[in-house]
């Protein structure tokens, strides 16, 4: 009897550690017990993406939270991603999510609702006579808000001497952007309904005295934008239209408005893109610009190809035609941009 009792206690004791650390996924285990075995995966099926092996019925009940689950702070997913590839766009010359030249209604960063994302970019443009470099960062909040900062350096090279401002004189422009998605979704929702966003771009030229000498009235100014971007999936076609209310001369590199009285006017930016694959888009853009200073400030256009090397890295190459800049025409060349987004 005593032996039996101690056996019982031993059994009970032995049972304890089994019962205590139950995996915290009882409903999954429950279902897998009821589930008949999965049919075998198709023979010709390749390994699932990212090296995940095909789902295995034997292990169906052993799903665990991803060990690389990104941090979640105060109910906000930090850099957790979630956007479909390329739906955060690439980065414009002014540091906003968009095409290369045109601002789109897309929100930068890879986060979705309830998440925070970050994006950084660097862009170089080689023109016939000038060189452009820009770089910046973007903060995405949910699928709703985008805040951006970009710095552009515009090198006049030998033209600087001809313009009397010195060879290699470089114009610098800081752009602080904000954009809010107000309606729609670029991919989802009614086919005809685009994603619509409003935004501002506050720009500050670092060459105040010079741009005022050139005829601009101010060294800083703010653009207001209204963008509509839609992906027509049945045609694999991305269409964007943006109205920009601006008084900037050459994006703001040459200041804002003119002493002669030219101020705000409405300009248009359009983009067309064709999706070749999940990762690749080719397309064209057009951007109208005012010629407030009478220096032959031309409309811009480009032919671009963007490729998502990974979920996080997107490269964009383009042929750009920026027309005439500061009276020197034929400013065509190459555009290269890299974006890293989380």
């Amino acid at each position: 009897m005593i032996l039996a009792a101690s056996n019982l206690i031993a059994i009970a004791g032995a049972a304890m550690p089994i019962a205590a650390p139950q995996p915290a996924l009882p409903d999954i285990a429950y279902v897998s017990a009821l589930e008949p075995p999965l049919p075998p995966a198709p023979d010709d099926a390749e390994q699932a993406r990212d090296g995940h092996s095909m789902s295995d019925p034997e292990h169906g009940g052993e799903l665990r939270p991803d060990p690389e689950t990104p941090p979640r702070i105060a109910g906000v997913d930090i850099l957790a991603g979630g956007k479909l590839l390329l739906t955060n766009g690439v980065t414009t010359v002014e540091g906003s999510s968009g095409g290369g030249l045109a601002r789109w209604a897309t929100i930068g960063g890879r986060q979705m609702g309830g998440g925070i994302g970050l994006s950084a970019h660097a862009t170089a443009i080689e023109l016939a006579d000038y060189g452009w470099q820009s770089y910046g960062v973007m903060l995405g909040i949910g699928d709703r808000v985008e805040l951006s900062y970009a710095r552009a350096d515009f090198d006049t090279r030998e033209i600087g001497a001809l313009l009397g401002i010195g060879e290699g004189y470089t114009f610098n422009l800081d752009t602080f952007g904000a954009k809010v998605r107000v309606a729609g979704d670029v991919a989802y929702g009614e086919t005809w309904m685009p994603q619509i966003a409003v935004g501002i771009e506050h720009k500050r030229s670092c060459n105040g005295a010079l741009v005022q000498a050139l005829g601009a009235v101010e060294a800083s100014g703010t653009d207001y934008t209204l963008s509509a971007t839609n992906l027509f999936l049945a045609q694999s076609l991305l269409v964007n239209a943006t109205m920009r209310y601006t008084k900037a001369n050459e994006l703001g590199l040459l200041g804002f408005g003119t002493a002669a009285g030219a101020g705000y006017n409405l300009q248009f930016e359009g983009s067309l893109g064709y999706q070749l694959s999940r990762r690749a888009v080719v397309g064209a853009e057009y951007r109208s610009k005012p010629d407030n200073l009478g220096l032959g400030d031309d409309d811009w256009m480009d032919l671009f190809a963007a490729y998502a090397l990974t979920d996080h890295v997107t490269l964009t190459a383009a042929f750009v035609d920026l027309g005439s800049i500061a009276t020197f025409s034929g400013q065509r060349g190459g555009f290269l941009s890299a974006q890293v987004a989380f």
Binding site: D56, T69, M112, A234
Partner: protein, 177 residues
């Protein structure tokens, strides 16, 4: 020692529950039985209609061919569900549902929408996703799994997008938060 013996004696004297007690009946648990042939759990009756598929079908034989016909479509749908069950981002949503039935109805829905000559026997998108709390990020994850399944089946990208074009507007009934 005496205390231990008494405790042990009391434990042994406890009446064991009768063999074969139906604990589910005892606690009022209803267990749904899977259909022995289809392996699906029963669902409450509803009106069946192709309108439940949520969009009008294509009429394009080449598109059907790009998906490998009815059999190809069925496999892509089943594979999409399989990938999603194994996807840590959305597995929990699928774990709580009858994925045997889902594989069949999703296959029927794709087959109907692509104009491959199936009827859709499932429920409508609003009903099936009610109170599921699907987010847009969840839908993105499902789209990625569907894209992976279509890539595995070598469906050309433009044809993949044709199917997504039919599904994308359904987000209005699927995405709830």
């Amino acid at each position: 020692m005496l205390l231990t013996a008494t405790a042990a004696a009391l434990m042994l004297l406890q009446q064991a529950p009768a063999e074969g007690t139906d604990w589910d009946a005892e606690f009022g648990v209803e267990v749904k039985q899977r259909d022995p042939i289809t392996g699906e759990l029963p669902v409450d009756p509803y009106d069946q209609s192709n309108a439940n598929a949520g969009a009008t079908p294509y009429d394009n034989a080449r598109l059907v061919e790009a998906f490998g016909g009815r059999e190809g479509i069925r496999r892509i749908a089943a594979r999409t569900v399989e990938l999603s069950e194994a996807d840590p981002r959305i597995a929990a949503i699928f774990a709580a549902h009858d994925t045997v039935r889902l594989k069949r109805t999703l296959g029927e829905q794709f087959c109907y929408l692509l104009g491959a000559g199936c009827d859709y026997s499932g429920r409508d998108m609003r009903t099936t996703h009610a109170e599921m709390g699907v987010t847009k990020a969840d839908m993105n994850a499902l789209v990625e799994n569907l894209q992976a399944a279509m890539r595995e089946a070598h469906v050309p990208f433009a044809a993949q997008n044709r199917l997504l074009a039919k599904l994308a507007p359904m987000s209005r009934d699927v995405v709830k938060r």
